[in-house]
Symmetry: D2
Subunit: 300 residues, 4 copies
């Protein structure tokens, strides 16, 4: 297929490469041009604006950092007043949004695209840059059913599993946001337990092994627990300041729906503390240092 | 081996049966006699008091509900002023405490037994009554090394894995308490996420499947998540009022060591709310209803 | 003076009347026209749009519900495409913003007015509609010094005390937001204490009297404590759904500055729970019911 | 009157002096003898044990640090196996407990004294050592009515106001515990607000003045707010480690009654953090540093 791809960051770049490997042709755009220029491949065209991408491909994937970046791509004019994505995407064209953005933005984009006879599919992914590179992403997809079937080869070129979760696109965002919330909750729980064990004279690493072998059997617990214990926060697979963004997405969705979310509030405060301590560029798992700092085990 | 066994409750009874099946002879005691009387087996003797058990067996396992029950077994006289366990256990005798009790009680018992030339081993277990019945407990053991090797056949008759975690007995209690804390944290996180998903129009059951398949791969998440979603709170494998006891054990250990434990405080408040709503006899996973009640999804 | 006044709600209407009583002439606008029409007074002109107000008065007070309402007044065109406030306010004109809005909006308005040679003063008020009617508001003012002196008679017509807190307008908003945060914190603390006292068999009303006489000596504690205990939530001086807005203003300011605010998170969850229970139109002090509901004392 | 007085610490010593000034004769005991020895006064007798005090006075006031200290005074034998207080207090004798102890201990002491035909009155006090010295304590009293009238001159020699709160002694402890909980809640709220204001560029001291003048009008807010802002934590009127004790008394009472107390949990974590940072000997208001540390404003 011919696929537009906008956003060649830590995640987008390896994803785009996997699409190429799978035989798709790409029209790409990235705000900082150097990254796009790196593609030395006959199957890749480099566009000058998001709008140009949308005028050249009926299917456009976007993979951007946050709501603001995605809004800007969809609504704003490019250099030389090039028309925006929303206007150039043809009738029947499909915008596949793979960014972790808000439930409310997903609803809004579903509406504005529909008004123009365009389709909108949400397909955020679980997984970090190494998983993107090795095609091990979990792709969470929501949108119109036949469309998703058409897109399935695209998703399968990007991840190991495609989870179809509903007709309304925002549901995929909701699941992605909820999933990230659960990861943060697990990091918080593990880190409090590490502080408890350590300051009572136990070995948190042995503790992690035992509880995972006896209870959780979860590679995620092992992985994130190990990152906290060994302070493997660099290179940052997912920056802490983006983690703050994600817990705020959960809190925003909870506020809209009138759902108290005390664990969400706790985790948000951990992120703020970590940012106050200058850790914004570290991996988000560094939030697990906060319980250790409060317990006097680690110096800030 | 000849083994004393004190405490034939939900957990103790199936454990004692497994010891019998493994060919051990038992001297048992239970506060309410009917349970002990149920053993129709030539290899079982029924004692009249904890002290009598300790006078007849060099190895005594205790499996009791809480600190008070264990203290009472160790220190108090029986009917007719029968001498207490602590006095009748012979020099060189071993008290194997399998209850979920406090770090401080474990330290105290290690000290008082040592004063009398007796040995003390902590061996609390992960797993619920069904796991006890099917020998699927995880046994967390701490104590003197050669002693643990001697006891290994006992532990192997009770569970699928024996985790040796240190020389000082209290470490096993610390790990057990920390593990239970993590389970409660997971229930809290899952339940908040369920409320978030549900009230935003998503299906929490589909959500649980997706996040577990994409992220956690944890049978524990599947199991506890399912219990909350389907409100499978009866029969109660582990009563909610005992869950309160366990989070208080974590908080007590955190207070002693000066470790803030905000997730612990949150979970404790969930238990108190559930008890205020009359749910103390339900399975402890019923704490997962609290976020749903606060969000107006469930009636209290 | 000739004063423009935009926003004749629960607070704005009595404030405007006090300005009239003090001898000022008014040009008023309200989105729902009936309220403006109620002014049968030779000194009052009724404008058709915010922009018309700004074209007729050099000093314009705005008293609106939230950021969105204030943004809309400042930036949007009126009926028949009447030019917006920001364009019609003359050079040297003064926008006095008395609404409880965000720190970030105050900064933005200071900037956009300055660009046009207009002045911007923030002057949010402490006090409820009854205090507005009886000129007992506390007016918190920040802005350029000589300007504030010029405006002093206006503020003195509205409240009993004018607190000048700085040159940068947003500081007044910050103080107002921080003050409301403290009120919510006091309601939360009082309500938890009431639940604690009541369920332990004590009389919360006697408790309130004793602790206020012995410790706080605060009419605010007496007033809000009494509202919670006697459930005086109607008529609503300040609706609970606006309280949610205010705690979100505090949280937004805390997030921007990287300040963990756990009490803010707790109070926000109380508001969400209250809204989930259908209490959004009650007085915001109804958040004090939440601890009583969680303790099983009150039915939701 | 002839009055026994046990416990001559920071609070007890100035209280005992005020009783002397009011013309009462005292029989005193203190665990560390030097403090008692300091009384060079013909009206003071120094006893060798709590039991001796109780054998010499029909009315005995106790003013001790915590539950353990009070239990020890009541139940334990003195040097040379001198009989304990509980045995030597004559029938009709009165134990007036002025310490801040638990609701459960107050209930227990009411019961054990009643069994022996002795009376028990709870009379904990609000106020710090300077208030004790200047007779400005608030005395919260609960017990049998005629007895309280008899004791009134004693209470009036100690404080400026006597609050009679019920017949059951534990109610006075409950009110005292609830009052201290409210103070901690106010310190937490103020300190979070200070961090919010400061890191957004405002002056917390000006903020405190404005909100107290506009809203709270509370000398306690002024006093504690000022202590936090100026870090007046020495000399310690009330040590932080005793503050931990007090919030634990509130939490214990809340757990017994099944009352979630999230603000209590938050404050307890602040105390633990402060203790982990080595601040246990500072004034308890130092808990107000924790929000500033978490926000990166203060170094730990």
């Amino acid at each position: 297929m011919e696929i537009g791809f906008i956003g060649l960051g830590n995640m987008g770049l390896p994803m785009a490469k996997n699409l190429l490997s799978a035989g798709h042709r790409l029209i790409v755009f990235n705000r900082t041009k150097e990254k796009a220029a790196g593609f030395q491949d006959a199957s890749v065209q480099i566009a000058e604006s998001p709008g140009e991408v949308a005028s050249m491909a009926k299917i456009v994937l976007t993979m951007l950092a946050d709501d603001n970046a995605l809004r800007s791509v969809v609504y704003e004019r490019g250099l030389n007043q090039a028309p925006p994505f929303l206007e150039t995407l043809p009738q029947g064209g499909v915008h596949v949004s793979m960014s972790t953005v808000s439930v409310s933005l997903a609803k809004e984009l579903a509406a504005v695209h529909a008004l123009r006879g365009q389709a909108f599919v949400s397909a955020p992914v679980f997984g970090r840059p190494d998983a993107a590179a090795t095609k091990k992403l979990g792709v969470v997809v929501a949108g119109e059913g036949t469309l998703i079937e058409t897109l399935r080869p695209v998703f399968e070129a990007l991840g190991h599993t495609t989870f179809v979760v509903g007709q309304e696109p925002y549901l995929a965002n909701l699941f992605k946001i909820g999933g990230n919330f659960l990861i943060m909750g697990a990091i918080e729980a593990l880190s409090e337990a590490f502080a408890l064990v350590k300051k009572n004279g136990g070995d948190p690493e042995a503790f992690l092994k035992v509880v995972n072998a006896a209870l959780f059997h979860s590679p995620l617990y092992e992985n994130y627990g190990g990152m906290v214990l060994h302070e493997r926060f660099e290179p940052s697979g997912f920056r802490l300041e983006l983690g703050l963004k994600d817990v705020k997405l959960a809190l925003e969705a909870s506020e809209g729906a009138r759902v108290p979310l005390p664990l969400g509030g706790l985790v948000k405060d951990r992120f703020l503390m970590a940012l106050a301590f200058g850790l914004g560029q570290k991996d988000w798992s560094a939030l697990g240092l906060m319980p250790l700092i409060e317990a006097g085990i680690k110096k800030p």
